[in-house]
């Protein structure tokens, strides 16, 4: 029964990882670059939320109302300036620039906000739970995060398939040059895609900050790699693959933790490496790796 519980907890955790992964996946799908600052940006969002809560005294759980739009705007601006400038130089430059951003962000957080661990205080919600049978306990927060993750993925799916901007994003992802020939300013489309990705990463950062403690290094030591692993396990180009990847990663980690607490992270990474060896295109995707 503890194993069943571990799987269920893993599924819950998977929602959080999928939330982290979908922004990374979207940016990779559209711009063909991996944003190495992804995890640190989530941490920035969590710290901004801390600030918002401190100043406005709104409950932390509502901080997303402010933080997500701020982050989306930040994403658009960053894409149109720094990231576009690096993209013009090539994919390698973009990798190096996002890596540089990651280092700068992490150290700036440490410099200005100290290296101490923080958390977003959501009162009793952090411990409230309900039980199924005698062994399985599900925390409301975990369930909320999973529901939010699924809702975000559904919304993103709907946006991409049904809106004019979503259609342009898919066209640019398919063939940037052909999109230009059809009259699309791909830089603007890149900006929109990045804004959405930043919005989701902000949401993920807030969820993480409510879920557990964080500090300036959490972004690189954990979140970036988890997000990437979820993307690869699930396979590119499919948001449902991302959810599946996040859930598989979460389950692997929770089951690994049952075996030995120190094995939690390792189990997830070994699953990632196994998938990479056996099915490098991921479990749902038929596309080739870029």
């Amino acid at each position: 029964m503890t194993w069943v519980n571990a799987v269920i907890q893993g599924v819950m955790l998977g929602g959080l990882y999928a939330l982290f992964a979908c922004g990374l996946s979207l940016m990779f799908g559209v711009m063909k670059v991996i944003n190495l600052a992804h995890g640190d940006l989530a941490m920035v969002a969590a710290y901004i939320a801390l600030g918002v809560v401190t100043i406005t005294h709104v409950p932390a759980i509502w901080s997303f109302v402010l933080v997500v739009p701020i982050f989306a705007a930040l994403g658009y601006v960053l894409q149109r300036t720094l990231l576009q400038a690096s993209l013009n130089r090539g994919v390698i430059t973009t990798l190096l620039v996002t890596f540089g951003l990651s280092v700068v962000i992490e150290n700036a957080l440490q410099q200005f906000l100290s290296a101490n661990s923080r958390e977003l205080n959501i009162g009793s919600l952090v411990s409230d739970s309900f039980s199924i049978g005698s062994q399985i306990t599900i925390a409301y927060l975990d369930l909320i995060i999973l529901v939010v993750a699924v809702a975000v993925l559904l919304g993103l799916q709907y946006f991409l398939s049904s809106s004019r901007s979503g259609r342009m994003i898919r066209a640019v992802a398919d063939d940037r040059e052909a999109a230009q020939l059809a009259g699309i300013d791909y830089r603007h489309v890149f900006g929109i895609a990045t804004a959405i990705a930043f919005g989701t990463v902000a949401l993920a950062g807030l969820a993480y900050g409510m879920y557990t403690q964080f500090d300036p290094t959490t972004g690189t030591t954990a979140l970036l790699l988890y997000a990437f692993e979820a993307v690869v396990i699930g396979g590119l180009g499919s948001l449902w693959g991302t959810l599946a990847g996040g859930i598989l990663l979460g389950v692997a980690q929770q089951v690994g933790a049952q075996y030995h607490a120190a094995d939690q992270v390792l189990a997830g990474q070994l699953l990632f490496l196994i998938i990479l060896v056996l099915r490098p295109q991921g479990i749902t995707s038929r596309r080739e790796l870029a």
Partner: protein, 364 residues
Amino acid sequence: MSAVGQDTQAAGGQHPRVAARGPAAGRVVTRSRRSALWAGLAAVVAIAILGYLPYLVFSDTTGLMVQFFQLLIMASMWNLLAGYAGLVSVGHQAFIGLGAYFVVLLAMHGLSPFTAIPIATAAAGVVGLPVWWLVSRLRSGYFAITMWVIASVCMLIIIQISSLGSGTGIALSGLTQSPTLLAADTYWATLAVAVLAIAGIYALLRSRLGLALTAIRDDEAGAKSIGGRVGSVQRLVFLVTALGCGAAGALYAISQQFIVPTAAFDVSFTAEMIFITIIGGIGTIEGPIIGTIVFFILQQTLSADGTWYWIVLGLVAIAVAIWAPRGIWGLVSEKFGIRLFPVGYYVWPAGEQPRRLLARSARP
């Protein structure tokens, strides 16, 4: 590359002493200019002086130099990998940590840590083989971040091994010299590895493989399309960098004498390699050398506040990568037309080539 450098492509594939046909007809192609001769001479003198240094200065100075040369080795390796083979890794701390722990392991079994350096280096290279098998199918961002995962896996595995000190770290045994002698030995070993690493890279880039590497640096797809053995060349470079970083890690263990997994496998190592290479000038041998000097000066002036040091470095590296992608050395060599480690070719209008260099370049 300077305008001169671009001409070398026209003559690519030709032997240095052969006057190029085709687009470069009527010109003479050489590898070296006077600046390189002087650089060679200066290098010999510099190495001799550096080798004599422990007799002249206190061990705190040589200690700094040890750090300097470790950085230089790592940055040169990363530059070879990214600047020439087109492979951006953010996980080469894996080989540094492994090199360090191999030395600890060998010393635990009675080997002198200095004797253990070449063995640990080779062992890191051996680990590089399966790692390459795993990551060789991946490109750009996927390659970069999967290397990071691999470094993390290596660290997590070592944390599980209690005989290696688990997560709390382990002291390196077997260093029985007096502190003064130990400092000198560490210095000499590090200097030797650094000289070997740079000379090795220089030799590699001047070999026939160097041409393939330069082709990949300039245009990977193009190199593939003309039948370049891109895959095998990249594998060789990857393994060389695994060896180099393994050696740097072995030296790190000896200079630290106590290692902790989170420090030995810290991504900061790779961040340093990347920033040094970008700022100094990616895709040149001189770049990492210049970069390490700049980096070291910055470190000595800003390190009182570690986070500021990283913020400044990161911002400078971002700016350089976007607005001056050839780095400091690129600007210098463009302005003055010098190259200390000539791995390309110079193209001279016929008749203008200095006689002395003709004689020199006529040697095989």
